[in-house]
Symmetry: C2
Subunit: 223 residues, 2 copies
């Protein structure tokens, strides 16, 4: 019997590849968390498209709208501009304070109730925006929290298979696994077509370019 | 200048005493989290009454209704009975899987945005229901998570001053501090008057009895 895994699926390219990896040898439960970010509708649409693609019916969409009330991020506060171009030094204004702790806590509660064994998490430490809650130390600390904060019989571990890959390697891995990149969404600003200028679009374009693979989202406009 | 603290205020007697403690030497921001538990209306009412009592205007009420969708607890699922009498061995059915990770994550995000220095948390390890996410090891693990998962300049620490007190000691401490116990709510089952039989009512009654203090909620029905 396959073990059950919760996969955090934002709808972006990284979570798409993580999903493709997890689907090889786990039963799946897919979690999407919406928190009032600018492009939430388009990301939710990508989530369901990816879940349909992999034939997963066990889905949870959790809304944590209070993050928008808390604010402190240009992804949540429309008065703050989303920075354009590649990430600079330091933590960018798109950082949503401690966001991944919320996402993983939801995955852990759900996973504990269902008896899941793993939580797949698409965080990347290298070649990304430098968010503190995307680092290996964070994943390790979270696993310790799950170990001490759940029932003694719960065996649930966060795995982050992309943590030390470059984003171009993620593209290549996705191509190998047949990941449906055309269903994903990465842009921080627009929902109709990628803006091509925000940090997330710039990182995605660079990754596909370095991998030598066309991005189906931008290379085939009729698709 | 006083430092800013986020206080988790459920509306129960323990958080009331923690609030009384924090109010002595901190500026306050009060957080209440509602998650679809049976008595949420009454608890929210207690939260605002306590905030009014201490003159705190900085309040955040966060709703995490997805916990109810996840289920797995008799506090959330009305098909499961709430156990009556004192806690037995093992983790009771009222355990809400990994709940305190969600509560503390909200407090940490809010605290980070506001530049708070402390999160006051009323967890008790002794003389309580034995929930895994109420133990010192959990608080320590959470502090490590905050340390690695927030901006480098963020200095935010969870403190749990009741962790090793008996509940009767919490009553005595509250009396010393003038904590308004009459504004609190503990019952898991009813919102009009305490049922007197659920685990939470039984623990509360025993604590007041052992402290030799009348509980204003049950000793003065006209109040």
């Amino acid at each position: 019997m396959r073990e059950l895994a919760v996969v955090l699926v934002s709808g972006g390219m990284d979570s798409c590849v993580v999903l493709a990896l997890a689907a090889r040898d786990h039963d799946l439960a897919l979690l999407h968390v919406t928190y009032g970010q600018r492009t939430w509708r388009r990301e939710l649409q990508s989530f369901h498209a990816l879940a349909d693609h992999y034939g997963v019916s066990r889905r949870l969409v959790a809304s944590i709208g209070y993050l928008r009330e808390i604010g402190g991020s240009s992804l949540l506060d429309e008065r703050l501009p989303v920075p354009e171009g590649p990430p600079g030094r330091g933590i960018p204004s798109t950082y949503v304070p401690f966001r991944n702790a919320h996402l993983l806590a939801i995955a852990a509660s759900w996973g504990e109730v269902m008896g899941a064994r793993r939580i797949f998490f698409g965080a990347m430490e290298e070649d990304s925006s430098g968010y503190p809650d995307c680092r290996e130390a964070f994943v390790q600390a979270f696993n310790r929290l799950v170990e001490v904060g759940t029932r003694p019989e719960t065996r649930l571990e966060v795995v982050a298979p992309l943590l030390h890959l470059r984003k171009s390697e993620v593209v290549r891995l996705g191509v190998e696994l047949g990941a449906p990149f055309e269903l994903t969404w990465s842009c921080y600003q627009r929902e109709d077509r990628p803006c091509g200028r925000c940090e997330s679009c710039v990182l995605r374009a660079r990754a596909f370019r370095e991998a030598g693979v066309p991005d189906p989202l931008t290379s085939a406009p009729g698709r």
